[in-house]
Amino acid sequence: MKQEQTNHNYAIEMKNLTKKFGNFVANDRISMKIKSGEIHGLLGENGAGKTTLMNMLSGILKPSSGQILVNGKEVHLNSAKDATNLGIGMVHQHFMLVQNFTVLENIMLGIENTSFFGILNRQEAKQKVVNLSKKYGLKLDLNAKIEDVSVGMQQRVEIIKVLYRNADILIFDEPTAVLTPQEVDELLETLKLLASEGKAIILISHKLKELKAVANKTTIIRRGKVINTVDMANTSPEVLAEMMVGRKINFQRERKSVKTGKEVLKITNLKVINEQKIVKVHDFNLTIHAGEIVGLAGIDGNGQSELVKSLTGLKPIESGKVLINDKDLTGASPRKITHNGVGHIPEDRQRFGLILQMNLVENASLQVYNQPPYSHGLFLEPKAMVKMTKEILSDYDVRYSDLSENVGALSGGNQQKLIIARELSRNPSLLIAVNPTRGLDVGAVEFIHSQILKAREMGNAILLISYELEEVQQLSDRIAVIHEGTIVGQAKNEDLTESEIGLLMAGEKLENKEEIIHAH
């Protein structure tokens, strides 16, 4: 009887949900309805208010006004625990797992079943987890430590964790950002299965293709307001993107044909070890020519960071050779490498690329402060620095209110544009770009991609390292795949399909394609 009643209602419903921080309205009268068994996409640029909305649903923030209804009944969430008790569970983009606990321990964490004297009742928990894992086809190695399992499995742990807490409403925050194409497919299947079991699913994503593949409906929000809720069956990705950013977006990256020139970067037999003396890069050979973008695809943690740090002088090289413009720069200092025409868009912009407590001028001058006209001897020339900063910030469309504001006050997209402005304005003959658009919205991505392509047209060589396969495929002339510290295959962009790249990324061999693997 009760069961029937709930069927008429929505599993979760938001009515005119508003969240204000002082005068700033992060969410403005947002209404969304999600049925059981439905996958509902949530699409919006960075800063559109998705996170604020989800934080209200998971009890972390309290709404300023408006209502949240769960199974037709109004609820007031005062803590994350309240949300859990109501069956709302969130799978976070950045996994919330204890690295040196086992998979099982991580799942139990927080709601441990204890017998007398607080002794953990593992057996019961284990049985429940095994059942869940079977039911949803989520393969887990319960006794492995988190630090030893793949990113894909870590995500499965997060999902089981939520299911273990009996969630019926599941929120996924950008779940595919870190996965290989194969893992993405598996995840999307899991989402469909969960929905068919009657779970209500909210899927936050930038990736229109994925929403298109699984979502029934999608709500688009911009600047804290709902723009529209659309049926996915009859909406094209172009329309979605336009609603998201409020203008037309060009997805086609025009790669004009450029005649490639001389070798700019030549890496031979590079070997790099980390602090624990573990080999992270070995037998690494790669050549990049002028006017060429080489995309290095691979799963996070396969030696990309170490490779880039060793190429840019931030990490010592164990053996091998790095030639840049025919000059041996193996193990040279970062300054010497910069002066030899290398630009570097670092992986972690806030840790390496910028000094957040310093102002825009100081950050723009980070590499050139010690040379004329920005300084003479010991004396800085602030006027020259300010002039240069103004120019490059306007050239690269960095939005700021005041040159003396701290870089930390800029949005993520503008921080990244500042780095790109600084690196590209020096017109480097080799640009090393690591995840240049990570976490940015489609508008900023479009701009940054066009700048990278422009650098290529000007005859510069570009090494693009990205965990986003789509980005690699959009921009690269040639794609190389790195797995466990070495290149396991490379070929012209056109000669590799997405699934082939995916297999290589996962360390599989491509049969019948030996010639591609060893082609140069």
């Binding site: 005068n23 604020t52 840790r351 100081e362 402060y369 800085l380």
Partner: protein, 366 residues
């Protein structure tokens, strides 16, 4: 929020800390049966009431300005120089030693020479810690504490064994032309120990301000201190920068020591403990939140509390140590600035529609 560094804008936190420190002192006086109002009146009249007292306040602030600058420059580069006392002592010894060794040199050579020797000795002493930190990653906190003790007992051994002939506890006074105290200043301030060192201190305030804001070295020091990874990425040599900052820090502490050797005491003697100017310099710098101009005022406040504190025990039977409780409380509240800032923002929130919080949220959102 970085814990290692105290970096704040504005002067509200120092002012509130001073006020709260005085309140804590008052509460303790009340609990111990003393009258806080009368004691504070005695304190301030004792520090500012006569030309002599004012002279003493300035004299007491002189080395503190230098050691505080030394602390702040090391802190800007991201480390904690706990060795200011030992470096100051090394500077004190070197300046007196040099002055006593060349008594026939004319003043215009001997005085600057002695001062420079003090700075060099301080720089050498801190340079050891800087070198170990830069090349071996040794924690500068531990090495500077150890170097403090070596400095203390090493100095005492040299005073007894080298600088005095018959195992005496103190050296003769430095030659007249090497002294910073002059009859003119003594007359001006009712025979206080006020000396020309204050000019050197104020000059160094300007130099350090200029160095940090207007030079490539200052830019490097600040970059390394705020984000060592980004500094390395930008091609700065973190080793070179760390050592430069540490050398400068020690040189300033050594200068502070030279002020004691050539100004305040005009000799050196066997110390039973490390000189206060080192640790007080840290406090002065923390209170001033590392700002060179703030350090002048902060050092003067310390001078007032120290000199005025003496008057408390003269005018009543309150022990002058109460002043140390006040100083400690002030520093405690500076250290607890996070709480103070939180309270300030809370008050502001209630008053004007939570502008602060909205900004911080907006910042976090983008």
């Amino acid at each position: 929020m970085r814990i290692k560094k105290v970096r704040l804008g504005g002067i509200s936190v120092p002012l509130i800390s001073i006020f709260l420190g005085l309140v804590v002192g008052a509460i303790i006086m009340l609990l111990s049966g003393f009258n806080p109002l009368i004691n504070y009146l005695n304190l301030f009249s004792g520090a500012l009431g006569t030309p002599n007292a004012i002279g003493e306040v300035f004299r007491s602030a002189t080395p503190l300005i230098l050691t505080a600058l030394g602390f702040s420059i090391a802190n800007s580069a991201g480390f904690f120089n706990v060795g200011l006392s030992g470096q100051a002592l090394a500077g004190w010894l070197a300046s007196v030693w040099f002055a006593l060794s060349f008594p026939h040199l004319p003043g215009f050579i001997l005085l600057p020479g002695s001062i420079i020797m003090g700075a060099l000795a301080g720089a050498f002493w801190s340079g050891i810690a800087g070198f170990l930190r830069a090349y071996f990653g040794t924690s500068e906190v531990i090495t500077t504490i150890m170097l403090n003790y070596i400095s203390l007992y090493g100095t005492n051994a040299i005073v007894k064994g080298v600088l005095t002939s018959s195992d005496a506890d103190s050296t003769p006074l430095v030659p007249i032309q090497a002294r910073l105290r002059t009859p003119f200043l003594e007359k001006l301030t009712g025979n206080s120990t006020f000396h020309w060192g204050i000019v050197i201190s104020l000059f160094m305030v300007f130099v350090i301000w200029w160095l940090m804001k207007k030079t490539t070295l200052g830019f490097e020091i600040r970059s390394v201190g705020m984000n060592e990874d980004a500094a390395r990425y930008a091609g700065m040599s973190t080793k070179k920068t760390i050592i430069s900052a540490m050398l400068l820090s020690g040189a300033l502490a050594g200068l502070g020591g030279a002020m004691e050797g050539l100004g305040n005491f005009q000799n050196i003697f066997v110390n039973t403990s490390l000189p206060d100017i080192g640790f007080d310099g840290m406090s002065v710098s923390l209170l001033a939140t590392g700002n060179p101009i703030g350090i002048i005022f902060s050092a003067l406040l310390f001078g007032i509390l120290k000199i005025g504190g003496l008057n408390i025990s003269i005018s009543s039977n309150t022990p002058s140590e109460i002043v140390n409780i006040v100083i400690a409380s002030v520093i405690f509240f500076v250290g607890a600035n996070y709480i103070i800032q939180y309270l300030i923002s809370k008050i502001k929130t209630n008053h004007n529609s939570s502008k602060l919080i909205s900004n911080s949220i907006k910042g976090g959102h983008k």
